[in-house]
C-alpha cells in the first residue's frame, strides 16, 4: 500500500527516460505522456482516498527509516495539491499536443514535461528538507529547458534572468539547509519539528526567515516577485500555463509546509500578513499598468499568491483551510485563463490588447471560456473565486484582522477592473479588418484547434464543478488544515513511532 507514495514520482521519471530514448517517434511519445499522466492522476486520487481513510502514508526509501534515510510522506495537504496538479498537467499536455510546434522542439518537450511532473510530485511528497531541495532542482531544471525550448531571442533574454534568480535562490536554500543541520543535526522535517523546539529562539527565527526568503523567491511574494512577469510570458502558451498554474504554487506549498511544521507561530503573524497585503496590492497594480494579456495575467499570479499567504499569516484552522481551498481554485482558474490567452494568441497572432478586439462576435464560445474564469478570479458570486475569498475573509473577520480583510476586498475590485480591461480589449469593440492568421480563407471564420479548446473547456468546467462540490471540498481542506496545525500525527508517522 505504501508503495503508492513512490509511484507518482517514479512513474513519470521512468516514462521520461523512455520518451527520451524513443524521441524519433512523436506519436508514441504523445501516447506515453498521456497514459503516464492519466495513471498518475488515478494514483493520486487513490492516495487521496487512502490518506483520508487511514491518515498519513509514509514510505522510507530503501527501508532506511527516518531520520537518516529519505522518507516520503503523503498527508492530506500534499495529496490535495497533488491531485489538482495532475489534473492540470494532464489538461495542459493534451493542449500542448494540439498546439502546433516544430517537430524538433516537440521531441524534447515530452520527456522534459514528464521530468517536470516528477519534480512537482516529489516536492509535494517528500518529508526531508534536503530531498525537497533535490525535488525543486528536478522541477526547476526541467523548467529551465521548457522556458528556453526553441532558443529564440526573447526566450534567451528572459530565460537568463529566470535561471539566474532561481539558481541564486537554490544557493540560499543550500545555505539554509547547512545552517539548519549545524543547529539541529538533522534535515528530516519531522525530526526537525521536534528538535528545533530545543534550540535558541533567535536561531530558530533566523532560520524561519531564511526559509521564507528562499521559498518566497520561488513563490514570487513581495518584494521577490520581479523576475516573474518578465520570464513567464515569453515561453510557449502551454509552458506558460503550467508555470503560472503550478510552479509558484509549489513554492507556496513549501512555505506553508515549513512555516506550519518547523516554525509554527502562536497566532497571526504580522510579518506574513504585511507581506501578503503588499503582494496583493503590488501585483494587482502591476497588472493594471499592462497592455498584453499574458503580462496582465502574470501580474495577477503575484496578486493571487498574496491571498494564499494571507491564509497562512492568519494561522487559524479556518484560514489555512481557506488557503488550501484558494490554492485549488487558483491552480484551475489560472491555468484555464492562460490556456485561453494561448488560444487567442494562436488564432489572432498577437496577445497585445491594442491590436485585438471584437472576438465576442467572431468566437463567442472562446469569449465564454475566458469570461467564466476571469470573473471567478475577481471573486464574483457564485464562482469558485468568490467561495475561496469568502472563506479567507470570514477567517480574517473571526479573529478581528480587519486591515488585511479590507485590503483583500479592495484588491478584488481592482482585479475585476483589470479583467474588464482584457475583456473590452480582446472581446468587445470592432474586429480588426485585417485577417488574422487563424482565419479560414473560404468561410472567414476563426479556426481554433480542437485539441486546444477541449482541455481548456474541461478546466473551465472543473471550476464550475468546484462550485457545486464546494461543501465536501471545503471539508477536506479543513481536515487538511487541522492536520497542518497539529503536526503530531505527521511527526509520528514519519519517524515510525
Amino acid at each position: 500500500m505504501n508503495a503508492l507514495v513512490v509511484l507518482p514520482v517514479a512513474l513519470p521519471l521512468g516514462a521520461a527516460g523512455l520518451s527520451y530514448a524513443l524521441n524519433r517517434y512523436p506519436r508514441f511519445q504523445r501516447v506515453l505522456g498521456v497514459a503516464t499522466l492519466t495513471t498518475v492522476l488515478g494514483l493520486a486520487i487513490a492516495l487521496l482516498v487512502n490518506v483520508q481513510a487511514n491518515g498519513v502514508l509514509v514510505k522510507a526509501i530503501g527501508n532506511w527509516t527516518g531520520p537518516i534515510g529519505i522518507t516520503l510522506a503523503a498527508d492530506l495537504f500534499s495529496v490535495i495539491i497533488l491531485v489538482v496538479s495532475m489534473v492540470v498537467l494532464l489538461a495542459v499536455l493534451v493542449y500542448a499536443i494540439g498546439s502546433p510546434r516544430t517537430s524538433s522542439e516537440a521531441r524534447f518537450f515530452y520527456p522534459t514535461y514528464l521530468i517536470l511532473t516528477a519534480g512537482i510530485a516529489l516536492s509535494l511528497l517528500t518529508a526531508d528538507l534536503f530531498n525537497l531541495f533535490v525535488a525543486f532542482e528536478i522541477m526547476l531544471s526541467a523548467s529551465y529547458v521548457l522556458i528556453t525550448l526553441g532558443g529564440s531571442r526573447d526566450q534567451i533574454r528572459h530565460g537568463t534572468t529566470y535561471v539566474i534568480i532561481n539558481l541564486l535562490a537554490s544557493m540560499l536554500f543550500i545555505t539554509a539547509i547547512g545552517i539548519t543541520y549545524a543547529a539541529a543535526g538533522t534535515v528530516n522535517m519531522a525530526d526537525l519539528a521536534v528538535k528545533l523546539g530545543d534550540i535558541s529562539p533567535a536561531i530558530r527565527d533566523a532560520l524561519g526567515a531564511l526559509f521564507l526568503l528562499v521559498f518566497g523567491i520561488k513563490a514570487a511574494i513581495f518584494p521577490l516577485f520581479f523576475w516573474l512577469p518578465d520570464s513567464y510570458p515569453t515561453a510557449p502558451a502551454p509552458v506558460t500555463a503550467i508555470f503560472a498554474g503550478l510552479l509558484t504554487k509549489v513554492g507556496v506549498y513549501a512555505i506553508i509546509r515549513t512555516q506550519t511544521l518547523l516554525f509554527p507561530s502562536d497566532g497571526p503573524s504580522t510579518l506574513i500578513l504585511v507581506l501578503a497585503g503588499l503582494t496583493m496590492v503590488v501585483g494587482v497594480l502591476g497588472a493594471i499598468a499592462q497592455n498584453d494579456i499574458k503580462r496582465i495575467l502574470s501580474f495577477h499570479i503575484i496578486s493571487q499568491i498574496g491571498y494564499m499567504i494571507m491564509g497562512l499569516g492568519l494561522f487559524t484552522i479556518a484560514a489555512l483551510a481557506g488557503a488550501i481551498f484558494y490554492i485549488v481554485h487558483h491552480i484551475l482558474v489560472k491555468t484555464a485563463l492562460f490556456l485561453v490567452g494561448g488560444l487567442v494568441e494562436h488564432t489572432m497572432g498577437t496577445s497585445r490588447l491594442r491590436r485585438l478586439g471584437g472576438m465576442v462576435h467572431r468566437a463567442p464560445f472562446i469569449a465564454a471560456l475566458f469570461l467564466i474564469p476571469a470573473l471567478s478570479l475577481a471573486g464574483i458570486p457564485p464562482l469558485s473565486g468568490f467561495l475561496a475569498k469568502l472563506t479567507l475573509v470570514q477567517a480574517g473577520l473571526e479573529i478581528n484582522q480587519f486591515l488585511i480583510v479590507g485590503v483583500s476586498l479592495a484588491v478584488s475590485l481592482l482585479t475585476l477592473f483589470s479583467m474588464i480591461k482584457v475583456w473590452s480589449g480582446v472581446f468587445w469593440g470592432t474586429p480588426d479588418p485585417a485577417a488574422p492568421p487563424g482565419e479560414d480563407v473560404g468561410t472567414g471564420r476563426l479556426v481554433f484547434p480542437r485539441l486546444m479548446v477541449l482541455p481548456t473547456a474541461a478546466l473551465v468546467l472543473l471550476t464550475l464543478v468546484f462550485v457545486v462540490a464546494a461543501e465536501p471540498l471545503y471539508r477536506i481542506s479543513e481536515h487538511a488544515a487541522i492536520t497542518l496545525l497539529d503536526p503530531t500525527l505527521y511527526i509520528e508517522a514519519v519517524l515510525g513511532r
Binding site: I68, F130, F133, V134, E137, S141, Y144, V145, T148, G151, R153, I156, R157, G159, T160, T161, V163, I164, L167, L168, S170, M171, I174, T175, I177, G178, I179, Y181, A182, V187, F226, P229, D230, A289, R295
Partner: protein, 121 residues
C-alpha cells in the same frame, strides 16, 4: 582550522555576491559558482569536527559525520549541471546578440523611454 574555513566561506559568498551584480553573464556565472562553493563548504562545516573516514567497523565516536558530505556531493552535481546550462545560454546569447549582457526589465525600459532625457533639461 575551522576559523580559516569559516573565513573562506564568508569570502566566497562576498566575492560571489559582488560578481553577480555585474552586467555580463560570464561574471554572473562565475559569481554563482563561487557562492555554490561557499555553500558546499558551509554544508561540510555543518557536519562538525573532522574525524576518521566513516567506514564499517570504524570506532563510532571518532568518525566524521558522513551525511553533510553526501549532501555536498549532491549539491555539487546539481550546481555543475545548471552552471553548464547557463554557459550554454551565454553562448546562445552571444550567437544571437554578439554579447552576453543581461538586459533590463521590460517595464524598466518602458519607463526609461518615457522619462525626459538629460539633454532636455
Amino acid at each position: 582550522m575551522t576559523f580559516v574555513l569559516i573565513t573562506t566561506v564568508a569570502l566566497l559568498y562576498g566575492v560571489g555576491a559582488y560578481l553577480i551584480m555585474a552586467r555580463n553573464l560570464l561574471h554572473i556565472v562565475i559569481g554563482l559558482g563561487l557562492i555554490a562553493h561557499g555553500a558546499n563548504l558551509l554544508l561540510l562545516l555543518a557536519g562538525g569536527a573532522p574525524g576518521s573516514p566513516p567506514l564499517v567497523g570504524a570506532e563510532a565516536a571518532r568518525i566524521a559525520d558522513p551525511l553533510p558530505q553526501a549532501m555536498a556531493l549532491t549539491a555539487i552535481v546539481i550546481t555543475f549541471g545548471i552552471t553548464a546550462f547557463l554557459l550554454a545560454m551565454a553562448y546562445r546569447s552571444w550567437i544571437l546578440h554578439g554579447d552576453d549582457v543581461v538586459e533590463d526589465d521590460i517595464d524598466d525600459r518602458r519607463i526609461a523611454r518615457q522619462a525626459p532625457s538629460k539633454d532636455d533639461s
